[in-house]
């Protein structure tokens, strides 16, 4: 039964994502995860502050259900389907250790950033700031890795290609230029 806990290779994960996107399309919906953030703002009453949140978010309730499912999927995976250890390229381990991250090849997420015991002013600021950038950027660009990366590119949308190029410029700048300053 050990195979149950094994991570899935890319050639299972990638096609499965395409399958989910196509399945939603056939049901009449468009795959995109970050619009749920806008819906949550609207539910919280953000329309008082900006017309951007005055939209037909009730038509997006299905997406909140998908979001809830994604969380349940995470719960099931963590508890029943995984060893919760991610093995990465060993060449990167010394780099990570230089940043103070020693949990590579031992955990799913670096405990030095994400474990509750590691929460301090610095990690809390990193997590919130990172979230703000993701949320702001996703809405500014009109989509995230799912909406642009998968749905948009599959529909041969040039804007989505531009957004993906942006995602990678941002990520590369962060990891290569800013990490040495932050960690």
């Amino acid at each position: 039964m050990n195979w149950i806990y094994e991570p899935w290779p890319w050639y299972i994960g990638g096609p499965a994502i395409a399958f989910i996107m196509l399945l939603l399309l056939i049901i009449g919906k468009q795959f995109g995860m970050s619009s749920n953030l806008r819906t949550m703002c609207s539910i919280g009453g953000a329309e008082k502050w900006s017309d951007f949140f005055n939209w037909d978010w009730k038509a997006q309730r299905w997406n909140l259900v998908v979001m809830l499912g994604a969380a349940i999927g995470g719960y099931l995976s963590y508890n029943f389907l995984s060893t919760n250890v991610v093995n990465i390229n060993d060449a990167l381990i010394p780099q990570l250790e230089a940043y103070g991250i020693f949990s590579a090849d031992q955990t799913y997420m670096p405990t030095e950033i994400f474990a509750l015991e590691s929460l301090n002013l610095k990690t809390i600021s990193i997590l919130i700031l990172g979230g703000i950038l993701v949320g702001f950027g996703a809405r500014y660009a009109g989509g995230c890795t799912s909406g642009h990366g998968i749905s948009g590119l599959s529909n041969l949308q040039l804007p989505s290609l531009i957004a993906i190029v942006g995602f990678f410029i941002g990520g590369l700048v962060m990891v290569h230029l800013f990490y040495p300053l932050i960690f």
Partner: protein, 137 residues
């Protein structure tokens, strides 16, 4: 009934994100270090299969199950918002190693501190709503 279908799709999505390790900070870091083909393989194969699927559905003029046409709204033309917004998103993605889909999955998996990222993402979305009129699009 329909709600159950969406829930099931979400659960499968969550399991795929977790099991393929696309939700792991380590994999995102590795991707931006060009340390492995893994993440590129996931996204590349998803896009290639997605593209073939979508183009085929369009060619066959397949309707959605409810009889409407497929939700393939074309994106507005332009460069600035996609490039600037994309770069800002990428900075955050690189910093916390989580994009919106995996965020929900990680919260469900019990990584409580991901709530802070989620909170930030909601705040960021709210900021965009406030500043929308002042940004180049």
């Amino acid at each position: 009934m329909k709600t159950l279908v969406y829930l099931l799709i979400g659960i499968i999505f969550g399991i795929v994100m977790y099991k393929s390790e696309a939700a792991s900070w380590f994999r995102i870091y590795e991707m931006f270090q060009f340390g492995s083909f893994h993440m590129y393989g996931i996204m590349g194969s998803a896009v290639v299969i997605g593209m073939i699927g979508v183009q085929w559905l369009k060619k066959k003029k397949v309707k959605a199950l409810d009889g409407t046409s497929l939700s393939l709204t074309p994106k507005d033309k332009g460069v600035k918002r996609y490039l600037f917004g994309g770069i800002i998103f990428g900075l955050g993605w690189g910093l916390v190693g989580a994009c919106p889909g995996p965020m929900y999955t990680l919260v469900g998996a019990g990584f409580v501190s991901i709530f802070l990222i989620l909170l930030g993402a909601i705040i960021g979305t709210f900021f965009y709503g406030l500043l929308k009129g002042k940004l180049p699009h």
